[in-house]
Amino acid sequence: MSELSELYQQVILDHNKKPRNFQKLEAANRTAEGFNPLCGDQLTVYMLMDEGVVREVSFVGTGCAISKASASMMTQAVKGKTREEARLLFDEFHRMVTGELDEEAEPNQLGRLKIFAGVRDYPARVKCASLPWHTMHAALEGEETATTENLGPDLSQAAISD
């Protein structure tokens, strides 16, 4: 198990405090809502797609530091990417936080997003990091809503119950 400081790195705390692209995007032509019914985390991702490229992306919502920082850095990472590039990043991020991708050993485009690798040691928190990405993916693919209820076995493992 990694140390707490590896989960709550300074970059994550900074993005939590000052999330980037944290506003509604009036010009958006895609929006998707992400919702975690277990913990109540909720965010909306706004996206302006133009000729297969993510020209602008932003988000609003409520959530923990991990989900807020993940959403903030997601918007920075996918802005300017083509649909294919954004899909690939989604896939790599998802595999990294669920432990299927060794970000240090295998080639990838994750870059600064690697600081989220630590969440895989906190099964209850994996969905916090991945919800913004699932929501971005839903916007990218033109779906309306992403929830963590049916997002695959990694998320069902992370269920929190009362």
Partner: protein, 420 residues
Amino acid sequence: MIATEKTIETKGAGAAWDVERVREDFPVLRQTVNGKPLVYLDNAASAQVPRIVIERGSKYLREEHSNIHRGVHYLSQRATSAYEGAREKVKRFINAREARECIFVRGVTEAVNLVMHGYGRKFVHEGDEVVVSEMEHHSNLVPWQMLCEEKGARLRVIPMDDAGELLLDEFDALLNERTKLVCVGHVSNALGTINPVKEIVARAHKLGVPVLVDGAQGAPHLKVDVQDLDCDFYAISGHKMFAPTGSGVLYGKAELLEKMNPFLGGGSMIRTVTFERSTYAAIPDKFEAGTPAIASQIGLGAAIDYLNGLDRAAALAHEQELLAYATERVSAIEGIRIIGNAREKASVLAFVIDEIHPHDVGTILDREGIAIRAGHHCAQPVMQHFGVPATARASFAFYNTREEADSLVAAVQKVIEVFG
């Protein structure tokens, strides 16, 4: 005006509470988590199990296991006798008139759903009203929404104030000739509020309206006397009162249970079956279709034995002292807001910290070995009332210590340090 009802009775507490002695009864407490001693403050979600309960369940599985109520053989009779013995213990524990008024269920969720299907679907019709409170757990809210949607009935809500106390004058105003049922929690899991359920029952009964009390958080802390409360139904989850999961009780007045429809159909709940029709068994069997959680319900009986062996007034006094101490220390930390400040509370301390999400609080506390609950506590309308997405909740049992409350405070201070 809010009616006050003397619900916390700690007078008559004997010698000082020997918490270290009591802790020895709970094997799970003796472990470390992340290199720190486990500090278990999630008792409102599920309480730990004392050794005599573990041993009783184990003895059943080793020596007595068989199906109940159907075998003529030795083991079946022993299992039946242990299971029905547990029902007798429940009856005495809550002071029911008769053991057959105590239906064994998996917990409060099943109990409420049983009443919804058995009573609600039979006696609630279009235009009727069902009353719940603003602080209900989803288990005592969602089934009633489902019923109202199905029947075209109306769900009415008793509001609460910002301290987390129900507004009883508003309750009076809600009651009318269309009210068919009132469903209210004894103690709020999210706020700790002890509701004046005896008073609520008395007011509802003036109009002849029956009352269901969700006792999930009541029975672990308070002495429950269903005849004194005069409630029509009282629901208990065993795992919140030191028994295994899968155990629980729906108490109901016999005359109500008898006129209700069955809930689950199947074996054990019938008298005769032909393809033309079936007739149903008498209570409690009518509501206990299929093979129940025998070991768990026998464990509930053992948990009751355990509680009866304690000085419960002293146990409650200890919990109240812990709550007061922890509340004072946590509220002294800058940036903290306590959610739930009712005058009469069970040992539930819910709070939020400025700018820090409760899940982050929960993760950092876990690294310190401290188990709390972070989330909406299956009470989203309560979160909406207080304008928060979630809270952090520490809930104390009689085996918790002042030192553990100190650990909580130190860990909360660490959270604030991490987030700067």
